[in-house]
Amino acid sequence: MIQNAVKSREAILALAILAMTGLIATRFPGFIRPANLANVFNDTAPLIILALGQMVVILTRCIDLSVAANLALTGMIVATINTVAPDIPIGLIIAIAISLGALLGAFNGILVWKLDIPPIVVTLGTMTIYRGIIFLVSEGQWINAHEMSEPFKHFPRATIAGLPVLSWIAILCITLFAVIVARTPLGRAFFAVGGNPNAAVYTGIDVGFTRFMAYVFAGALSGLTGYLWVARYAVAYVDIAGGFELEVVAACVIGGVSIAGGIGSVAGAVLGALFLGVVKNALPVINISPFWQLAISGSAIIIAIAFNARAQRQKGRVILKTAEHAT
């Protein structure tokens, strides 16, 4: 029954995105030109990728606030590598970015697992630490476009079958995570650990290890996004993607991933990210100040949470029917 509620929640979110896009199109038909839509998707790709990682972490009743800092640090390191050794092939750069990100994620995971520190505290700490390390690595300097090699910058922008590589990578990640979450024992463990950690222990699932793996996934995706981000914008500095972690968490929450753990889906996280992406891209078009974007995202989060709470009630916990009897 919960699954039906989740499914219908996703359907409603998808409808909301469509309605919003339609509304914008009535005034600015250009917005729904395929090229523009592809553009919006491409623009949202980093958010989608990070939301996937965040989702598995939240599923296990944890949170990762260090994803944006991880992204920035990994981005800075691969950019630095590229400036000193411009000949390293992109494949290797990507492998380095993913491993480095996974390592930073594993560090979070170890702290949560072995030292039993609350996840929010751990990742709040590592968020600052990772940003601090960027400063040490870069000595506060920017790495600009002209310092990066051409292939390094070009890769995410190259188009295959009409879509940029960045978009394809997001699609690949979505597929991969959909399979991991739905069809592997580890994916099942994420749900079990978040749904009832106590029962998970009795089932022989190592709760700490499962959480650790969730952090490694989130970290690996952050690292990957780190490279894509600095290459796409052709710049790396201490503060890139500052505050982006909140947008990532917001995407998950809007997508129906329960902060209490155990409930969520890949489709939900992706739709949540797309919702924010559409809002972000539409506002400049319809001439509304980007500051409104924050207000709109905020309202969307509250609506989503209220909606989730209602969906839970519909499950039959408390039925608000006989109000007319009440008095």
């Binding site: 592997t184 749900f191 079990a192 009832n196 029962a199 089932t203 022989g204 499950k315």
Partner: protein, 518 residues
């Protein structure tokens, strides 16, 4: 709501109640959940100073009516009257103001609070400045607990208590408000004979005070012992009601199940195979001491004892949840170390925990995913789960255990209490272990399904599975076991076989009374 001290003092009578006069009456009550009609037009009457037993199979709608009576659910139709006047319970508060209190089947307590705080949460005694009077709260909690015969420190943290003691706290909590109607949803399921007889005494006292009591149970002996009237639900409908004096056990069962149920334990005599499990000198700093036994293929070994005897604690250590301070385990003659449940499972030892809510089901996952959670390595190939296989595994075991569910896709959280337990048992049997430890296997399971569980257990033993069965139900222990170990205060007090397996020696050994000289 009245202060707690009055509730305790209530024994010496608020004599407004007149026995025989209808106190609370439900009629035409219906309740539908998405896809399930839990109740359709049922009625139920409660009389002051009388115990009404509510019986019915798992999923018949018993707990649903309790939740309607306590304002947790609202009925879709029907009326509730108290003293002839129609009442509505839009909230739990309204029901408790109307003098209804309940011990729910799944007790909702707060792990991080103390026993006293749990008992008085929401209506703590206030002192000066409206602050909570902690000293009085503790005193009141202590006397409430004493009244129900529990020896629990009111200052203890709830998470440190075992399931039986939690249950006693829930009972104390229900009695801490001065109520006219006391509802007990399977109050004895988690208790052993000592606490149960204290509970019976308590029920007698409540009766004498003129309270109307609704008593839900799957145990017929206790229904016949304490109830004055009965009401039977079947599939959400009223199947019969009347006074206990006019009904026999057979008639009740037939009303409930629609057929008669063979209540003889279906234990097959099995030739025991070679030894599979040997435990020696298992010790724990605080919970148990020097436990040793061996178990053979096809054997069912019963563990009996009072609440707090350390049976579940020992089983949890054996399963790798907690660490023993000393002791060895060997399986098929091979010494093994168990550091985690995963180790135990991979050695073929599994444990069906007693507290299915906290330790068993993962609410939010559908039934079939709950069942296959520990068997995923068997239902997947190359690391990917095959859904068809998963489904058929889940179907095989849940249907053997007589699970009543709309579909295996359904969230376990929406199942009735007894059906959730069947899911947990199915989950562990599906791992096809060589040793299974069942902690209170039929707790909360209705009479028909109980027979199905026993039959399945017996069949599995016959096929070579070794079973350790912790149970507080004497008929079950005696009917199903080949051998019984009685534990008392963390130690083995006696081992009974053959002729020695009789109720008296069981109770004596558990209570530590020496065998009468022959």
């Amino acid at each position: 709501m009245l202060a707690s001290s009055q509730a305790i003092a209530a024994e010496d009578g608020n004599a407004t109640a007149v026995p025989g006069k209808l106190l609370l009456s439900l009629s035409g009550i219906s309740k539908e959940f998405p896809g399930v009609r839990a109740l359709s037009e049922v009625s139920l009457d409660l009389y002051p100073g009388e115990v009404t037993a509510l019986v019915g199979e798992n999923g018949a709608g018993k707990s649903t009516i309790v939740k309607i009576l306590t304002g947790i659910y609202q009925p879709d139709g029907g009326t509730i009257t108290i003293d002839g006047e129609e009442v509505f319970f839009p909230t739990a508060h309204a029901a408790s103001d109307a003098g209804i209190t309940a011990i729910h089947q799944e007790t909702v307590l707060f792990d991080e609070l103390t026993v006293a705080e749990n008992i008085f949460i929401g209506h703590a005694p206030k002192g000066r400045f409206g602050l909570i009077d902690t000293a009085r709260m503790h005193r009141d909690a202590k006397s409430l607990l004493e009244r129900i015969g529990a020896t629990i420190d009111p200052g203890a943290r709830l998470r440190d208590l075992g399931i039986a003691n939690r249950h006693l706290v829930a009972i104390a909590r229900a009695l801490s408000v001065d109520a006219r109607v006391v509802i007990m949803d399977e109050p004895t399921a988690a208790l052993s004979h000592k606490e149960i007889s204290e509970l019976y005494d308590l029920v007698e006292k409540l009766k004498a005070d003129g309270k109307a009591i609704l008593f839900i149970s799957h145990k017929f002996d206790e229904i016949f012992r304490i109830a004055d009237r009965y009401t039977v639900f079947r599939d959400g409908e009223l199947a019969g009601s009347g006074t206990m004096a006019d009904v026999s056990e057979d008639e009740l069962v037939r009303m409930m199940v629609g057929r008669s149920v063979d209540q003889i334990f279906p234990k097959q005599q099995v030739a025991l195979g070679e030894e599979v499990l040997r435990v020696s000198d298992y010790c724990h700093p605080s919970e148990f001491d020097s436990i040793g036994f061996s178990l053979r293929k096809g054997e069912i070994l019963g563990f009996y004892g009072l609440v707090g005897a350390g049976r579940s604690e020992f089983m949890q250590a054996l399963f790798g949840i907690t660490k023993p301070s000393r002791g060895t385990v060997s399986i098929e003659g091979r010494n093994i170390t168990i550091n985690s449940p995963a180790d135990a499972i991979s050695e073929g030892i599994v444990y069906v925990p007693e507290d299915r809510g906290r330790q068993g089901t993962v609410i939010g996952l559908p039934i079939f995913e709950n069942v296959t959670l520990p068997s995923l390595s068997r239902t997947s190939r190359h690391g990917f789960i095959r859904l068809a296989e998963e489904f058929s595994l889940a179907r095989k075991y849940t249907s053997r255990l007589d699970l009543r569910a709309a579909s295996l896709d359904q969230d376990v959280g929406n199942l009735s209490g007894g059906n959730q337990q069947k899911v947990v048992i199915a989950k562990w049997l599906a791992t096809e272990p060589s040793v299974i430890i069942l902690d209170e296997p039929t707790k909360g399971i209705d009479i028909g399904s109980k027979a199905a569980v026993h039959e399945f257990m017996s069949e599995l033993a016959a096929s070579g599975l070794a079973v350790v069965m912790v149970s507080s139900e004497i008929p079950e222990i005696l009917g199903m076991s080949d051998r019984v170990i009685v534990m008392k205060e963390g130690r083995i007090a006696a081992e009974l076989t053959g002729e020695g397996m009789n109720p008296e020696s069981l109770v004596r050994a558990a209570a530590g009374i020496a065998e009468a000289a022959k």
